[in-house]
């Protein structure tokens, strides 16, 4: 049998009561935002619940699916696994800040190829792809596959994602 059974339900978690919320000043999409949050709150929940930016999605909470991908100083980062206290003064970009009018070359290519099915994973895919193109403007198919392997899509849009990245990389 597969390993990995966690005694999730039975562990009496030795819970340490955290003291009052901390205040954090975060740079999000070019704006400074102040939030009060416990220090271990993942950036994902700061973005979604405290800043009400809903484009960043929750899929697994364990850095396994990529739905929550944002840029932290330009690096594609799983926001579900980055505590707010670890962000510091690094600049956060979410899908809402990827382009001014939804006209990033990748967003345009995504529309041209009609990539999304349900669409839920797509903002994470786009943020991951954008970071890839920043680093490697002309990736090969294999490089795309490897760079995108952390982003799951249950609907099965991998082929069109790849095509759209190739299109954007040529624009």
């Amino acid at each position: 049998m597969t390993a990995g059974f966690s005694e999730f339900y039975y562990i009496k978690v030795p819970y340490q009561k955290t003291d009052a919320m901390e205040k954090y000043r975060l740079s999000v999409n070019g704006n400074m935002q102040e939030v009060s949050a416990p220090e271990d709150m993942p950036l994902l929940w700061v973005i979604r619940d405290l800043l009400s930016l809903k484009g960043t999605k929750f899929g697994c909470g364990q850095a396994l699916c990529g739905a929550c991908t944002v840029h932290v100083d330009g690096v594609a980062t799983r926001s579900c696994s980055l505590p707010v206290s670890a962000v510091g003064d690094r600049k956060i970009t979410t899908i809402e800040g990827l382009s001014a009018n939804g006209d990033h070359p990748l967003q345009k290519a995504w529309q041209e190829h009609v990539v999304p099915q349900c669409g839920y994973c797509q903002t994470g895919q786009l943020m991951n792809a954008a970071a890839l193109l920043n680093e490697n403007p002309h990736p090969s198919e294999t490089e795309i596959e490897e760079a995108m392997a952390g982003n799951l899509c249950r609907c099965g849009t991998y082929n069109r994602i790849k095509d759209a990245i190739l299109t954007a990389s040529k624009s």
Binding site: T2, F8, K54, F58, L64, C65, A67, G156, K162
Partner: protein, 763 residues
């Protein structure tokens, strides 16, 4: 309460979708309800007080405002198939609207107004192609009539185009909006009697039309289940019984309540060992200001569970028992001729056992729902649900209120695949909102989703096939056993229903003189549900693998072999041979017969497109399978290869599909691309296992779905031109892919595959 599942049961005549045409008195109510009307400041002639927009709505699916806005109602749920675009597009095409300017509005759950809204069973297009055409035609006829009267010309000389009525002879045009006032005085024609546009005249139907939401999705503006916020809302994360049927003996909430942001702990009662399809599981909800606090609060709960009888459930043990049972005589589900006699004729006999595991849906959006219980005892819901009407009924039942007191708003679904037709998570939110008298969003985590799904059943099958001395297939004995969907609600449902048997098992279409199909008992120890193509998944795996093996073993070409087994062009009804009903996906068999000619055509097409005949010369390793499901004919060829590192790669997949009239070709293709990738996961990487009644996988590390590196590199979908009634494509791509892949793997590795998933192929 069990919902009507048209794909599993015979359709009651009353179920047939019909156009819902509200009478004139409902007019204003409807137009204000859908939010189209009464916007101030638009300068048009109208019958209302000066300056107001007036709305014309000849039926529930569309309205036209005097400011020219055409609003079309999407009454089925969008979970990735594109239905929110494709059905409105049919209305728009028939109407002659300017598609780029059409507004699409999602309907609330309301059967009396919209008809069937259960987005399931690949039947949205099948059931609503015609009604959508008639909805559009109703308005078109009236618009043309009104314009013709104005111009004093023959209506037959006018048509609609791009949101205008056009008089063909003079070229004169009038925008729809300017006719709204006139339309309000006109009688609404009977939809059934209208002439529809010819298929060849359509500008959208039959073409590739992008989805309505594509821009919003890429900008992160599209609203999914957890994206709606209400003032004062609370977030709930629930600790559910790890074993189905478990009950809370005692609990201690103290530590949970100490987590900053946690406000309350509320118990939810489950329904026992037969949990039902629309009830929550027993659990303890931690209610907090935000999601993170609720999650941490849950970790701090201490619960003493009375786990109940399922705590001893081991799926591996049940699998062995199921396999054992296939060696015995089972319940007869279809019979033709006498297999026993045929087996004793002395020809060659093949006998194989096939196993497939439990699967979870694992939509990337975990279940979530927001409920707002109001002082007057009514409740409003926002949920990513495939079945808003069942959600509505279930909430009313759980809260003991009238159905009319429940309003269900449907958000976009971040994937569905059958999971989100069950409204358990919606009921959870409703119960909690009532308990704390505040809006509550229930948020499932990935672990919750993997642990508490309505799983696709694990299954065992034994097929014994007998040939005569000339090598002709003369006997087919298929045993199938798996915990049935009905077992989720009742102790008595130990066999698959006629509906589940009819999903690729009893509808065995091949010309074999002796057929015997049997089922065996298996108890449901968890929540069993339906997942994208349901029992077709395991049935097609077994049948198409077996046929391939028989062909190969006899040195015959599998494609040619299956074509010959389909026999003469004919239409099958199976009637006298079935021991029970054959629901035929809810359609009359006379209207949708099993047509061997259509199946042969897709097989020939896929073989030609994939280069089946020259595979050896081209150095390609190909596997083939064909399977009809949900009344759609599909054949599939999968190419496999091994890279230098020993990893399996799938360079190419070819599908040929006959789904009748192809409505939105781009979304047909996307469903096949997605279906191939979904099926790759089922074939190669996913499995749910139970030990001591609990699911042992937790997240995407244990329950694996394929990543981009593992996906088929190229997927081609060849759509057969057809004027047959259109059928759905959400599920049909999945079943044939798995055996086609397994048959290709056999050619690559020389080993037959009898058990899913075939994990070891990825190094």
């Amino acid at each position: 309460m069990i919902p009507k599942l048209p794909f599993l049961s015979k359709k009651v005549p009353a179920d047939k979708s019909k156009l819902f045409i509200p009478g004139r008195r409902d007019f204003l109510k409807l137009s204000s309800l859908i939010g189209g009307g009464f916007v101030l400041g638009v300068n048009f002639q109208c019958s209302g007080p000066k300056g107001e927009t007036v709305t014309f709505a000849p039926n529930a699916y569309l309205s036209i405002d005097s400011d020219n806005t055409v609003t079309i109602i999407a009454h089925r749920s969008e979970m990735g198939t594109g239905i929110r675009t494709t059905l409105p597009m049919i209305v728009a095409d028939e109407l002659g609207a300017d598609w780029k300017a059409v507004k699409i509005q999602q309907a609330v759950g309301d059967e009396a107004t919209y008809g069937d809204q259960n987005t399931d069973g690949s039947y949205s297009i099948r059931m609503f192609f015609e009604p959508m055409r008639r909805a559009g035609a109703t308005a078109r006829h009236m618009l043309v009539e009104a314009a013709a009267q104005e111009w004093n010309v023959e209506a037959s000389g006018c048509d609609t185009r791009e949101g205008m009525v056009v008089h063909q002879a003079s070229g004169q045009t009038v925008p729809f909006g300017e006719l709204v006032e006139l339309l309000q005085q006109m009688p609404i024609p009977e939809a059934e009697k209208l002439t529809l546009r010819k298929l060849s005249d359509y500008k959208l139907v039959g073409k590739s039309v992008p989805i309505y939401d594509v821009k919003d999705i890429t900008e992160g503006k599209a609203l999914f289940g957890a994206d709606v916020d209400l003032p004062g809302q609370q977030i709930a994360v629930i600790l559910r019984s790890p074993v189905v049927g478990g009950k809370i003996r005692t609990y201690n909430e103290e530590k949970a309540l100490q987590v900053p942001g946690v406000n309350k702990v509320v118990q939810i009662s489950g329904n026992g060992v037969h949990p039902g399809l629309n009830k929550p599981l027993e659990g303890l909800a931690v209610i907090a200001d935000h999601t993170w606090a609720a999650m941490k609060g849950r970790e701090a709960l201490e619960v003493d569970w009375e786990l109940g009888e399922n705590q001893d459930y081991q799926c591996a043990t049940q699998m062995e028992a199921m396999i054992e049972s296939t060696l015995k005589e089972g319940r007869l589900r279809r019979e033709k001729g006498d297999v026993k006699q045929a087996f004793s004729s002395g020809g060659r006999i093949f006998e194989n056992t096939y196993r497939a595991p439990y699967y979870a849906h694992a939509t990337i959006e975990p279940p979530t729902a927001l409920a707002d219980y109001k002082e007057d005892g009514s409740i409003e819901i926002w949920a990513p649900t495939q079945h808003p009407q069942w959600a509505r009924d279930s909430v009313a039942e759980a809260l003991e209120i009238e159905v009319s007191q429940v309003r269900v708003n449907v958000t976009l679904l971040g994937g569905g695949f059958g999971r989100k037709s069950k409204p358990d998570y919606v009921v959870e939110a409703a119960l909690l909102s009532k308990a704390i008298q505040k809006p509550v969003r229930v948020q499932w985590t990935r672990e919750d989703d993997i642990h508490h799904d309505f799983y696709h059943s694990h299954s065992a099958q034994r097929i014994k096939a007998g040939l005569d001395a000339t090598g002709k297939l003369t006997a087919w004995n298929h045993h199938t056993v798996f915990p049935a969907i009905g077992g989720t609600s009742s102790a008595d449902e130990l066999h698959p229903s006629d509906g589940e048997m009819g999903l690729g098992c009893t509808d065995f279409p091949y010309e074999v003189p002796n057929i015997r199909i049997e089922s065996h008992e298996a108890k449901a120890h968890t929540r069993v549900g339906w997942l994208r193509s349901v029992s077709n998944i395991h049935h097609a795996f077994a049948i198409c693998s077996m046929l391939d093996e028989i062909a190969e073993e006899q040195g015959m070409d599998p494609v040619g072999y299956v074509l010959s087994l389909l026999g003469e062009d004919r239409q099958l009804a199976f009637s006298e041979e079935m021991k029970g009903a054959y629901p035929n996906y809810g359609e009359a068999i006379e209207e949708y017969p099993w047509d061997t000619a259509r199946m042969k055509k897709v097989i020939q097409r896929v073989a030609q497109e994939a280069g089946w005949g020259s595979a050896e010369k081209d150095g390609k390793t190909l596997g083939f399978a064909a399977h009809k499901s949900f009344l759609t004919y599909v054949a599939c060829i999968v190419e496999v290869a091994e890279d230098e590192a020993g990893n399996l790669i799938i360079p190419e997949v070819h599908y040929a599909v006959d789904c009748g009239i192809p409505v939105n070709t781009d979304r047909i293709r996307s469903q096949f691309e997605g279906g191939a990738q979904f099926a790759t996961s089922l074939a190669l990487s996913s499995a749910i296992q139970f030990e001591n009644g609990r699911v042992i996988q937790n997240n995407f590390d244990g329950y694996q779905i394929i990543r981009m590196t593992q996906a088929p590199k190229k997927i081609f979908t060849h759509i057969i031109e057809s004027t047959e009634k259109p059928t759905g494509v959400g599920e049909p791509p999945v079943p044939p892919f798995i055996p086609a892949l397994c048959n290709a793997l056999y050619k690559l590795k020389g080993k037959r595959i009898y058990e899913l998933p075939v994990k070891e192929v990825f190094v």
